[in-house]
Amino acid sequence: MATLTYREAIRAALSEEIERDPNVVILGEEVAQFNGAYKVTEGMLEKYGPKRIVDTPISEAGFIGMGIGASMLGIRPVMELMFWSFFSVAYDQIVNNAANVRYMSGGQIACPIVIRGPANGGTNVGATHSHTPENILAHHPGLKVVVPSNAADAKALMKTAIRDNDPVMFLENTLLYGIPGEVPEGDITLPFGRAAIAREGKDLTIVAYGRCVVHSLAAAQQMKAEKGLDIEVIDLRTIRPLDVNTILKSVAKTHRVLIVEEQRPFCSVGTMLAATIQEEAFDELDAPILRVGTIDAPAIYAPPVEKQFQLPNPDRVIAGILKVMR
């Protein structure tokens, strides 16, 4: 085990894959000379040179589309979006080309591209820079969507993503980048679609992913101390594929569900989870499924308001827990 930050863990995965496969190439704005807007690729240009670590112009539709085209020929581009928020200008390339080209060609083409970058609010950068498009991406068959919550998972899932022959959307979080964690050494990968039980419990199931796992664990710990509640926290790790079985198993044990997500409620990932659980485990439920998500408005700038009210946080998770337990 080594202690690495989430950022370092991703860098380690990128570096190991660059070394393993000559077709892996990293492209994005400021990834090379500037060392990455969030320093994920720091030092990589020096180590691997300008053929493998490539600075692009501010041209998301162009360079993402270019990466998709190159991937059709067997290149494995890992494209950094400085923020996933900027996916909107490349949306056509992602949903019409990456997601559809295999289908429309009757399975003749594979598109082994990874698009990665941070997707989160909570940094007071306003509505344009705080999008969390995992629901929008997962809506498109053909795409896979990965949302790691910790360093070990981030590394293992990134390796899986790069080796995957389908387009993988990898959503990180700027507020997790600096958080250290124990990361197993060596060439460890994790299959997509295998959720983690981040905390075992019997009284309530929280389904979360990304940074909301951190909030949920904090809330669960406090609820144990204050109320003696044993809360199970499931970390989805990937949205598509989705580990439905682990969720249903937990529901059969706890009979109560709270979904915690950094998503506005309308057509969120949690909407899909709630629909799936009630379709497949209605009889197991002792209470309605509730969701703690983002307050339904564009991301507000005002720093304390965004943090305390608009986004999920341990206090809001606790309020949700108490409601489901009522």
């Binding site: 009757g106 068959p141 022959n165 299959p191 899909m272």
Partner: protein, 370 residues
């Protein structure tokens, strides 16, 4: 059509008002090198495209083809001329008016017709339709329905070729309407910035749906290359020799020096934008007739090859009969083929789920329960 020859096209060939006989481009290196058989093959391909598409019409009108059907009739010399120059590491990608390029790269017309019928024997197993033909084994990367959206992909093919150290180039085709898409300009910049071996080929048929070039685009289309320090060419697309002469030079430059270029080719479509376009509001019938009568690419090349004594009347008739018969056989094949099944809907979505063994776990398809 009055288009002034563009001065800055250093190496370009000015479009002839009406292609003359004999073709002034017959002695260009790419054409002088052709054998009689190769010339006949070029002619045959153009005829096959036209007869194939003409055969599509009654099928469409009988309700057997769904959605849109964008015919390439009138533009055949462009795709056939361009694709005839492809080497093994050259790639091609185009928009939704893609039947001509498909036949030009060597796709069999049976699966092409079956695709229009939505049959499982179609080139995309009935999952793509008219606008989405693909043959990666022939370096043909589609067939794309979003105007301009294929241009970054074509740039990526060039990036891939260069990254892998191969001596090849990509030709990314688009219409005159597509040049106004932002993605096209982003691709221009990347290609020029990184010296990618890609040719951006504008098939300027003067209209994007019902909007003429004059009503949609400021300035000359090819000239936009200058903003990116790219070479550009403008040439006529009615004489296949001219298409080949121009693209041959641009392709060599791309392959050997990794230099991108924009090639604007004047051409014309005889039919409506799609078969559903009544074609009554935005252009003159006389304009169409003039093109048909004086610039038809099949007629021009036929005249040229008769002049060269490569084609005879008998051979012309033979080629035509064979092309009609081929189109009929394609229809028979399509008619006799089955549709994909309901189970086929969720195949070919992910590479992973098409393998005998999945590598990921969990649910990857989400179906309503009914």
């Amino acid at each position: 059509m009055s288009k002034k020859p563009s001065a800055p096209a250093e190496t370009g060939v000015a479009p002839a008002a009406t292609p003359s006989l004999p073709s002034p481009h017959a002695q260009a290196p790419a054409n002088a090198a052709l054998t009689a058989e190769q010339k006949i093959e070029l002619y045959r391909k153009m005829v096959r495209i036209r007869r194939f598409e003409e055969r599509c019409l009654p099928v469409y009108n009988a309700g057997k083809i769904g959605g849109f059907l964008h015919l390439y009739i009138g533009q055949e010399a462009v795709a056939v001329g361009a694709c005839s120059l492809m080497g093994k590491d050259d790639h091609v990608i185009t928009a939704y008016r893609d039947h001509g390029h498909a036949i030009a790269v060597g796709m069999d017309t049976k699966p092409l017709m079956a695709e229009l019928y939505g049959k499982v024997t179609g080139c995309s197993k009935g999952k793509g339709g008219s606008m989405h033909y693909f043959a990666p084994d022939l370096n043909y990367w589609g067939g794309h329905g979003i105007v301009g959206g294929q241009i970054p992909l074509g740039t990526g093919l060039a990036y891939g070729v260069k990254y892998q150290g191969k001596k090849g180039a990509a030709m990314a085709f688009m219409g005159d309407g597509a040049v106004n898409q932002g993605a096209v300009h982003e691709a221009y910049n990347l290609a020029a910035l990184w010296d990618l071996p890609v040719l951006f080929v504008i098939e300027n048929n003067r209209y994007s749906m019902g909007t003429s070039q004059e009503r949609s685009s400021a300035g000359e289309l090819g000239k936009r290359a200058e903003a990116y320090d790219m070479k550009w060419y403008v040439c006529g697309g009615h004489d296949i020799y001219e298409v080949r002469a121009t693209l041959d030079e641009a392709l060599r430059c791309a392959r050997e020096q990794h230099k991108p270029a924009v090639v604007e080719i004047d051409t014309y479509r005889y039919r409506g934008h799609s078969v559903a376009d009544p074609d009554k509001t935005y252009r003159d019938r006389k304009e169409i007739e003039d093109y048909r009568n004086t610039k038809d690419p099949l007629q021009i090349f036929q005249n040229q090859l008769v002049f060269e004594k490569v084609l005879t009347d008998t051979l012309i008739a033979e080629i035509d009969t064979a092309a009609r018969a081929e189109a009929d056989r394609a229809v028979e094949f399509a008619e006799a083929s089955p549709f994909p099944t309901a189970e086929d809907i969720q195949k070919d979505v992910y590479w992973e789920t098409d393998q005998p063994q999945r590598t990921s776990e969990g649910r990857i398809f989400f179906n309503s329960i009914d």
